[in-house]
Structure formats: C-alpha cells, structure tokens
C-alpha cells in the first residue's frame, strides 16, 4: 500500500481515514444541538432532526470502526495509537446505538438521557477524530 510506506509523514493520512473520522463529529454535534433545541422549545421536529443526525453519524462511525479494524489487522496490531482510536470509536458506536434507541422513544420519553448521551458521544467522537488524524504525524513535525 502506497500510503503505508510513504516517506512524507503528512501524506500518510489516508483520505478514507479523513472522511470517515471527520464525518461523524458534525453529525453527532448536530444531534446534540437539536436535542438542546428540543429541550428548550418542546418542538418535536428538533427531536426528529436529532434522531436522523445521530442515525447518519452512526453510519460513518460504523464505517470508521470497520476501516480502523482493517488497518489494525494489516499493521498486525503494532500501532498502539490506532488501537486507542479504535477503542474510542467502539465506545462512540456502542453509546451511539443506545442513544439511537433512546431517541426512538416517543416525544419527551427520549429526555433527559438522550441529551446526556449526545454530549458524551459528541466528545468521544471528537476525541477519536483528533487522535486518529493527528497520531500518524506525531513525532515527525518538520
């Protein structure tokens, strides 16, 4: 694989890494903001938005999880940073699944646990993205 052996460290951020790791964050964040809007206004449409945004985020988180696992297998689990990214993504996915079910409850039934989970998940997803995109270049700052 070309990216695995590239001499320029910056180029080692594979575009798939970039897309999959970054897409989840704004979607989870949108879900969180929608939850906040619903909690403040009781307008049910915000709750619908939150449910869809979280569902969209889950798609990318699931793909990122699978991709990261694949990369780990390829590198024979030598990359410890990638392992941490994987565990962060796994936690994001597991809690995101719980949050999806909670957002499937009708009306205010999703509150307040849905909002609390949305906060935690958004932070987890951000951490996974941060670590996932920065780790590869660590220690090779020109």
């Amino acid at each position: 694989m070309a990216f695995a052996h590239a001499s320029d460290p910056a180029s080692r951020v594979h575009p798939v890494d970039a897309v999959l790791l970054t897409c989840g964050v704004p979607l989870f964040l949108g879900g969180l903001l929608s939850d906040i809007a619903y909690a403040r206004t009781y307008q049910i449409q915000w709750s619908n938005f939150a449910a869809w945004l979280i569902a969209g985020a889950m798609v990318f988180t699931g793909l990122a999880l699978a991709w990261t696992l694949l990369q780990m297998i390829r590198s024979s689990f030598r990359d410890r940073r990638r392992l941490i990214v994987f565990l962060l993504l796994l936690a994001t996915f597991a809690l995101g699944l719980v949050n999806s079910f909670i957002h499937a409850r009708d009306a205010w039934g999703s509150m307040p646990s849905g909002l609390v989970l949305s906060i935690i998940i958004t932070l987890l997803a951000a951490a996974a993205t941060w670590l996932g995109l920065s780790s590869i270049r660590l220690g090779v700052r020109p």
């Binding site: 307008q43 449409q45 569902a55 999806s100 909670i102 409850r105 009708d106």
Partner: protein, 456 residues
C-alpha cells in the same frame, strides 16, 4: 414479643399471598392495578406470525357453533346487521402516515409482518342468508370506491358510512343489495396524517345525531401537538346539517362505539397508549360522558401523568375522568356490541368485545373475543372468553378479531382482518337449561364485585 413476631409472620404471609394473587386478577375491571411505567431500550414486542386456518376454526364456548360465512374479503373491519338480517361488511385499510424518524421506517416493516397483505377493499359487501339456514349464499358489492370505510350505522332509510376522511350516507330500503346512487357527504372528518385512521360510528337512538370516534394522530404526541387538533375525540354530528361539536375529548383511540339498549347511552372501547410497559396502559370500555375529558395525552386512567408529554397541563390532568372498565393493556379492543338474551343465558346481559391484539406486549394479550357481563346496566365481573384460538402459544396467528355485531336473532358476527373472514357464532339451538354454556375461563377467583363496578 412472640406474639408480635407471629403477627408479623402472618402479615408477611398475607402480603405474599396478596402479591401472588394480584397480577392477573387486577388487570381487568373498574380498578386495575397500574404498575410503574417501564421502557427498556426496546419496547416489549411480539409480532403475530400469520398462518392460514386450514380446516380449523376459532374456539367457541361449549355448545356454540362457529362458521365462516364469508372469506376472501378485502380486509373486513366492522359489520352492520340490516333489518332483514342482511350483513354489511366495511372493508379497507387506511392511514399511511409518513415515517418521521428512523424508528418509523423500521417499525413499519416489522408491524406489517403481523397483518394481512391483501389489497384494501374500500367497499361495502352485503351478505344474505335468505332461508335462514346459516349459509350466506348471496354476496354482492353494496358500494365500492370508498375511502377505507369503517364505522357503519343505519338510521331509518339512511345508511351512514364513516370513511377515513368523511362521513357519507346512502339511501337504503330494506332488501336492497346494491346502492342506487353514489354516497352523499355529510361532513368531512379529520384526516390530516391519519395515524389512527379508523372512524368509528354510532347513531343516537332518535337518529338525530351521529357519534364519530376519531383517534389520536400519534402514540403520545410524537408528531407534535398541532397534529392533534380535532383528534382523540368523539364528535357529535347533526345528521341533518353535518354540523359537529366535540362530545368527548382526550379519548385516545375510540375504535368502536355502541348505544346501550334501554338507556340509550353511548359506550366506547378505547385503545390506550403504548410503550409504557406490558401492563400499561389498560385499554378500556366506558360509558362516554357528554363533555368528558379522558386524559389523553396528559394523563392515563384518570390522573396518572404521562411524563412523555411536554408541555404538561396539570389543569387538564385534574379534570380527567377514570374510565369504567379496564380490558387489560394492549388487548387492542376494536369492536364492541351489546348482547341480547338470544345469545344464551350466559351472555344475556353485557357486551362482546373484539380484541385484535397488539405488537406491544410479550406475551401478547387479546387475539380473542371476550364478553363483559353487565348487571343493572354496568359492567359486573371479569371478562369471559367467547371466541379464542386465533393465536397459538407458539405465535402462529390465524386471525385477528376486529368488529363484533350481535344479530338480534341470536348470532355474533365477528370480522377477522388477518384471514379476511367473517365468523358467525351461534348459541345452541333451543338452548336447554341443563346445558347452559359454561364460560370456558370464567373462574378467575374474586373478580370485581358488582357493586364496585358501578361508579355512578
């Protein structure tokens, strides 16, 4: 000291006995035990697994016979006995509310597995047994191109049909097998979204008013409060002008209405909200009070606040009426009919209730027709199974009862919207006293006492 200990032991024993006794006996009647709301990650679910009847039939009380008098219908829901004994069947499927959330897409696919896949009939079929041998040899389409017809009522020469979007009428003369003219619209009915699309119908004894049951537009306001305008209520419609007023409100899904013989009072069976646990919220049978508010969405069974509704409304909660009689949670009562002595001594006074069964309970409840005995015009005693065998314990489901109607000559007509069949249950001929049909599962210990069953 020792005495105190033995008293304590006795009390503990009594409490144990009481707690063992409770679960079943107190799901029914005027004072059901209401557990705390519960909801895990997934709601309690059990989807029916449809199968054909083959040579089987539903099980009736001993001595009673059951026959399929019509099959292959286009989703029969409610029936009406005409003055000459002809039976009208309303067939159709309505609704089609859009999926708003990922959940709605998934739930839609899952729930559809437990219902029929045939095309909506959108028509009224007439069945006739000319010689009274119990075989309905004539079958005609009385009217078609209707929009998911459900409630039916005959007032003099006018046949009223509650479509999912409008109340219409046909002129009718006894013996007619086909409508002679297209229907005339009496009034539009609320049909925006139409989450609960069925429009139940009953006529006041003097024929001046029609009562139309209109279900809520959501389980518990998850489609927003504006969608609930003119929903979860019973309209009183002036037959002459089409003008209406809300007769009762907060009544989540009044799926069948009936006028009590003698008193002329309006009664309803009502389907309550889902996703609060297997034993919440009881579906109910109630006398409908003019101007009464029955709690939905703010509270259930009187003043039990539903925390899923925001903003809350304590004033409305305070005014909520407790219904008369719990049928049990998630039985999904879709039919109600007052009995006559011609149905046999065991079923002389009371109502038959068709229980469709719900996806939201495991193990499921309903999937049968029950009889609620009445005394002095009020429910008195636990439900008695009348027609069972629609569902095997392993989940195989051959039918799901909807509308029930009593033929005054002594027959119970049951519409089955899974096998698309009309069942006819008849008492033993000349019902001998010695063989008075014993209710098959009646003895459930101390049921509700007759006196406490009369809250008025």
């Amino acid at each position: 000291m020792r005495r105190a200990a033995s008293v304590l032991a006795l009390l503990a024993g009594a409490a144990l006995l009481a707690s063992c006794d409770r679960p079943k006996s107190e799901l029914y009647g005027p004072n059901p035990q209401l557990p705390e709301p519960q909801r895990g990650l997934l709601p309690s679910m059990k989807i029916a697994e449809p199968a054909s009847w083959g040579d089987r039939r539903p099980t009736a009380p001993s001595g009673y016979s059951v026959a399929a008098i019509a099959t292959g219908l286009g989703i029969p829901r409610q029936t009406l006995i005409l003055p000459n004994g002809d039976i009208l069947v309303a067939e159709g499927r309505g609704g089609g509310a859009p999926a708003l959330r990922p959940k709605d897409l998934i739930a839609g696919v899952i729930k559809a597995k437990g219902t029929t896949s045939v095309k909506s009939g959108n028509r009224l079929t007439l069945l006739r047994d000319a010689n009274g041998d119990g075989v309905y040899e004539l079958r005609t389409v009385f009217a078609d191109k209707l929009n998911a017809p459900y409630g039916l009522a005959l007032v003099g020469g006018q046949l009223y049909v509650a479509n999912q979007d409008a109340l219409v009428r046909f002129s009718y003369t006894v013996g007619q097998t086909q409508a002679t003219a297209p229907p005339v619209k009496v009034t539009d009915l609320p049909s925006y979204i139409n989450h609960h699309w069925t429009k139940s119908l009953a006529a006041s004894p003097d024929g001046r008013f029609l009562y139309v049951g209109i279900g809520s537009n959501s389980n518990i306001t998850e489609r927003g409060m504006p969608a609930e305008a003119d929903r979860a209520m019973i309209w009183e419609v002036d037959a002459a002008t089409g003008a209406h007023r809300p007769y009762a409100t907060g009544i989540r899904n009044p799926t069948a209405l009936a006028i009590q013989p003698g008193t002329g009072q309006l009664w309803a069976v009502v389907n309550e909200r889902d996703e609060l646990g297997p034993n919440l919220v009881p579906d109910y049978l109630t006398f409908v009070r003019d101007g009464g508010f029955y709690g939905w969405p703010y509270s259930y069974w009187g003043q039990n606040v539903d925390q899923r509704v925001r903003p809350q409304d304590p004033q409305k909660v305070a005014s909520a009426i407790r219904p008369d009689y719990s049928l049990g949670a998630h039985v999904a009562a879709l039919g109600v009919a007052f009995s006559t002595p011609a149905m046999g001594p065991a079923f002389a006074e009371g109502v038959f209730v068709g229980e469709h069964g719900s996806w939201n309970r495991d193990p499921p409840s309903g999937y049968k027709v029950v009889f609620i005995p009445f005394r002095n015009g009020r429910p008195a005693g636990p439900p008695v199974d009348v027609l069972t065998g629609f569902r095997d314990p392993n989940g195989t489901t051959r039918g799901r009862p909807v509308g029930v109607t009593v033929d005054p000559r002594g027959a119970l007509i049951v519409a089955d919207d899974l096998s698309n069949t009309i069942w006819r249950v008849t008492p033993p001929r000349q019902a001998p006293v010695a063989e008075a049909p014993a209710p098959p599962t009646g003895g459930r210990g101390a049921g509700p006492q007759p006196d406490s069953a009369s809250p008025y």
